[in-house]
Each structure stands twice: as C-alpha cells, then as structure tokens.
Amino acid sequence: MRKVFLAVLLFAAVALFASLEERIVEVGKTLERNGINEVRYAVWGTGDPNSVLRVLGIVEAARRINDIWSKNKVNVKITIRETRYELDFTQMYQEFLSKQPLGTAGDFLVNSYVYIASLAEEGYLLDLTPYLSRHKDFLEGFFPTLVEVAKYKGKIYGLPQDTEARPFYIRKDIAAKVGLNLEGLDQKVLKGEFTWLDVYSWSKKTVEMKASEWGLIHRRGTAHPDLMQFILAFGGRLDDPVEGKLVFDKEAIYKWLTIEWVFAREKLLPSDMMAWDWAKQVHPAIVDGKTLFDIGGTWYWTEWQTKDYYTDPKTGQMRGLKPEEVEQWFYYTLFPAGEPGKKPVTLSQPFMWMVSSKAGAQNPKYSALKSTYDELAFLIVAKASDPDINAMHSIMSAKLPITKASAALLANKSWLDKLYNLEVDLDAGVKEKIANIVKATVNPINATFLSNVSYMLEYTNFQPAHPMYPKLTAIFAEVVDQVLRGQMDPAKAVDYAISKINADLDLKAAVKIIKDIPKDWRFPAR
C-alpha cells in the first residue's frame, strides 16, 4: 500500500513538473543556439545553521536541471559560482540592498517575506507572476496563504521556501508536579478555554510550589515576531491592508504590556528577560526545566537537539537533548487566547526564494538574452521547490513544509529512513554538507512533531510587510523592556510608545492608532 502511495506521489510530482521540464529544455536549447554553454549564478541565503538547504537547494536544483539538459542532449551547464550563508537575515538584506544596484549581489536571495515589499518597490526583484501564470498547476501545489504573502501590489515576487509556527511549549514534568493536566489541553486552547489567565495562575502556582524557578520564559532582544502574538491574542490587529497602514491597537497593546508587567512584578518572568543571552540563558533555562511555559518557535525542537544547552545532571557536562527527551519533556499548543472570548493564535514568517531583477547579469550576451536568463532563474527556484528538497529542509530545520507533496513525504517512514542513510538523489557535494545535520535531526520523533504542529498554520498570522514595521517593533521592544524592569507601568508605556511614533514623522504617517486603554479591565481579573 505504501509503495502504491509513493508511486502515486511520484507520478503526481512528475506530472506537476512536466511542463516545467519542457520549459527547462526549451530554455536550454535557446541558450545553446546562442552559443552559451555555461550559465553562472550566485545564491545568498540566511537563517539558522540547520537551514543550509536554503542555498544548497539552489545548488541541487542546478544539478537537476543540468541532468535534464544532459538527458535531452542540450550542451549547457549551470554553475552556482557562489553560495553565501549568514545567520543574520537583516544584515544580508541590507547587503543585498546596497549591492544589487552594482550587480554584485546574489542572483538568488533566500530571506524573510517581509523584505519583499521594499525590494520589489526598488525594482530589485524579478516579477515571477508571468512565469507562474504559465505554470498554474505548479503554483497550486503551494499552500495558498503562503503565496499571498509573496505578493506585492498584486504581483508575486517570491516562491515560498518554508514557514513555521510558534508553539506555546509546556514542560510536561513540571506540569505533572503542579497538577496541570495536559490531556486534551491543546483542544482547550483551540476552543479558547485555556487563556492567559490560566497561564498566569499555573505560573504562579508553579513558582509558589518551587516546582520551577520561572513560570514563563520568552524571547529576548526584539519584540517581534513572537511577542506580537499577544496583540493578536487580545483580538488586536497589526495592520490595515485597506489603508496600507500599520495599526497601533492601544487596547490590545495595553493588555499585552499588563501581562508582562504582572508576570515580572510577581517574579514569574525575569524582569531582565529582554537582555538574556540566547544560548547561555534562554535555552538552558528551558531545557534544564527552570520554567513551566515558554513562547518559542517550531525550530526550537531541533535546536535543543543540536546545540549543547542542557546540563546533564549525571556528568555535569552540557549537551544537546536526545529526540526522546524532547518528546518526553515538551508539550505544545497554540499561543493561548489573551482572555475568555478571544481566540488562540500563532504567527509565521515564511521565507522566500527571491530572484534578483539582475539575475544572470554576469553571463555572456546578457542584454540580448535577459529574458532567457530570467526565465532560467525562475526555473531554478521552481526546481528547488521539488517536494523532496523541501521535505529535507523541513525536517533538518524543524520548519513547516510549504506544499502538500512535501508534507506527505515527511509522513513517509521509508523515505525518512533513506534520507537518514543519505540514500537519496542528491548532489554529492550537497550530501556531504548536510550529512551531520541529517544524522542529528532526521528521525520519526521530529517528523511526527512537524506533522502534529502543521494544523497551527490554519490559525497563523503574518507580520505586515510594511517598510515601517521594523521601526514600530523596535519601539515595542523598548517598552516591553521598560515594563518588565518596572520602569514604566503599562499605561505609561503605551503613551510613551505613541509619543515615540509621533516623534518620527514617517512613522506617524504610517501608523493608525486605534481604540483606547480599557478602564475597567484588570489582569488577573479579581
């Protein structure tokens, strides 16, 4: 039965890409006719260390296209001349911004969808709409919401590469100690029956019982995107797409800051949380069981396995968790509703394959063959979206797949076994580069986790792809820090944030302030 299922899947994939393959051959022949035998591109990627397929996917796609050409006796070869991978995606975006006009940026950029608006506005990205309208069946393979965020002014400027959810993690062993029954809790969260009022009361009980040092740990440094979930969980909005403005929802923001204030004052959450070190404090506190709740992302699941955050009580040495330990210790749900009557949420930040509007500019006869080089660049990113490449990336990085076909592969144990043994169709160089990540991350526990959290995408939200959004989140980060440290109460922090917005004329013009601080609202409700 499994074999039949795989065969059907394979057939579907072949059918899906048949027309793409025809175009690949056509483009190859056009290049050959014009005397081009080698086409060179560069790819720039960014993100966590396990997400290397964000660039190696392009290398693999180039190899697959070379194979198609070779099979069809087309004497052209794609060479990926440069692969750059950096951890900090803002830095890479800025470098792309400054080097694209010079023609020295990568031909492909893999980065957060939030940059599409500004890059497309500058004319730095290739509009993929004409190609995608030619390959509608291919486009339909993607989850539609992810394609929506790749759009800017009605045109598609990126192909989804991955996405994620931000589960609300709960330590199972601590929950057991304090009597929090996790049986069916995810359903209660889903129905809005377990809210932040419950998170508060269980946190308080945990700390009082000394079952753990903290009730809650959240992300450090920036307030976005994790903490923005509070605004959504209190029924707030981040933007108004009709007016094209960002939204500052005073009521929801006040409620969010009140939670931070109350948790920090009652020592359920560290008051210096925003200054905690990611590797030295945040994650060790979570994996060492020093908190009951934790706001995180799906990628935490494998990060805990691949980084030495856990201090083994037997040896006193720091090590990564075993998949069994992660499974045994961590429960996950959606981000609970802010209060009764509200809905649970999660937030995704899809990454995109983006193509530079100058893709292939370093190749011969560029001006004459620009349209061909552009189309080939599109075909490369389309090939890099092959279900198996995407599924490999998903399990290696604990990100969610972007097509149904790749999700199906993740659920297939025999495919996972083959991947674990690297018995898959991959470029030898790529295999070598991903070998240690594969060994550390490919296992049924991680695949099950990804499959279990996939439903969260139905409840997901996206950050506004507005050029002023980073400025607004920087203000949020500042006020959260002040509130946590007790330097401003929530009402004063809301006013302070508004004064900061008004002080910046561009930001003021971009932000719509709505609602008011509720006068009769208390947290916790008395």
Partner: protein
Amino acid sequence: MNLSDVEVRSKTKQVIYSIVLIAFSIPVLMAFSVLVLSSFASQMVTNFDFSKVRFTLRNWQLLFQGRIAITGGLRENIFLYMFSTAIVALGVALVTTLVGTLSGYAISRIKFKGRKFLLLMMLMLHALPGSILIVGVYFLYRIWMPTNLNALRYFSFFYVVFARAALEVPLSVWLMKGFFDLLPWEIEWSALIDGASRLKTWAKIMLPLIKPGVVAILIFGFLAGWQDIIYVRTFLIDKTLATFIESNLEAEMAYMPLLAAAATLYLLPTVFFYISSQKLLFKVYAGGIRR
C-alpha cells in the same frame, strides 16, 4: 638647570600615576580578557563566575574549519577572509605611506602658491568621517566599475584600497611634513652638492632620518585598512574578517564563543603592532612635542 624642569617625578607621584592609569585601563583590559577567555570557553564569559565555563580549543578548531555553528551552516573560508583583510590593510598602508612621504616632503620643501590652502583642505578632509563621504565615493565606484565580474572583483580591492587610503593620506602628509620640517636644509644641500639627485637625496638621506614617522604611518595605514568595515562592506565583493564577524554577530542563534575566537583573531595584528611599535610611536609623539 633645575632638576624639576625636566620630567622627573617623585616616586610617590609615579606610584599614584601608575595606580590611576591602571584603574582607567581595567575596564578595557577586562573587556579584552573576557573576549579572549570566551574564545577558549564553551560559552561566553560575561562575569567572573567560571563554575559553568568549560575551557576548550573547539571554537578555534571550528573557526579554522570555517564553521559558524556546531551543527549545520555552510563552511566559510576563513583563510580567504584573512587574506582579503590583509590585502586591504597592506594596500592602504602602502598607498598611505607612499603618498604621505612624497607629499610631506614636497610640501615641506617647496613653497608654492596655495600650499597653505592645500594643507588646510587636507586637515578639513581628515576631520570628515569616512561615512559621510561614502555617497560620493559610491557614485564614483558606479561610474568606473567594470562590467565583467572577475575584473570587478579585482577592481573592488583596488578601489577599496585607494578610497580608504584617501582618508588616511591627510594625516600622513601632515605627520610627514612635520618630520621633514625638522630636518635641516643643510643635510639635503650637502647631498645635492655631492651630486645626488632629488629622488636619491630623498630616498637615501632623508628617509632613514624619518624612519619612525614612516613606520608610524605604515602602521596607522595598516590598522585603518584592517579595521575598516564601511568601505569594505560597501564595495568589496569578497568578505573580510570584519564583515564575517558583523554578518553573524546580531543573529540570536549565533554561536558567540566562535565569534569571540574570530574577534580575537581579528584583534591580534592590532595588539601585535601596538606592542611592537610602542617605542617607535613614542618617538613620533616626542618629535611632535619638541617641534
């Protein structure tokens, strides 16, 4: 001559000065110590609680393997980054020294129209930070850049060296002019009377006498090129150590001890030059005071 006229201090004063200087140096020394210690530790050393810190050579091993993370990440060619950094630093040092010594000599010896204005303009140029000139420099780069990528790669080195050196030249010219001013004309005249050419006089007679100044601007030029980040990041196609550290530093998931190792490696030439040339640099400052 009264002994108190010369710089001889009582022992008590010397001790007090030393204590004050050490007190001022402690924060700087601690920052460097923490960085170096972190490069040999399993986690960042942010205080002096070493109970959880495990010392290891792994960060250095990972760095030279070009890995930015314990698991995953693409291999980076750290040696290539060091090489690129060295090319820029040496290039800036050579251009600065050559232009500085030749121009300093000319301005010191030749009285020409606009000499004072030129000196004032150079001083003004030195007062302007490199970051505000970058728009113009970027514009010129766009005009001159070749279209071929291979040629552009070499051109970017050439351009960064000259653009960065241009910022260092005013100071070096002023410094060298000061040195040449100190040398009496008579030395040069006797060389010229003995039949030496202008260039030969400059190279064989004058240059050895101003060696401390030449070495100083060579070092300043090298360090300026080694430490530059704005020009390198804007124009250079290849990465340097500075851009490598910068591009990975701000990410939350960065493995900081490894970046501490990279930063320590990046720091080494600066420390080495300052220690080895300390005496020479003192001569430069002493020369300035005397003049």
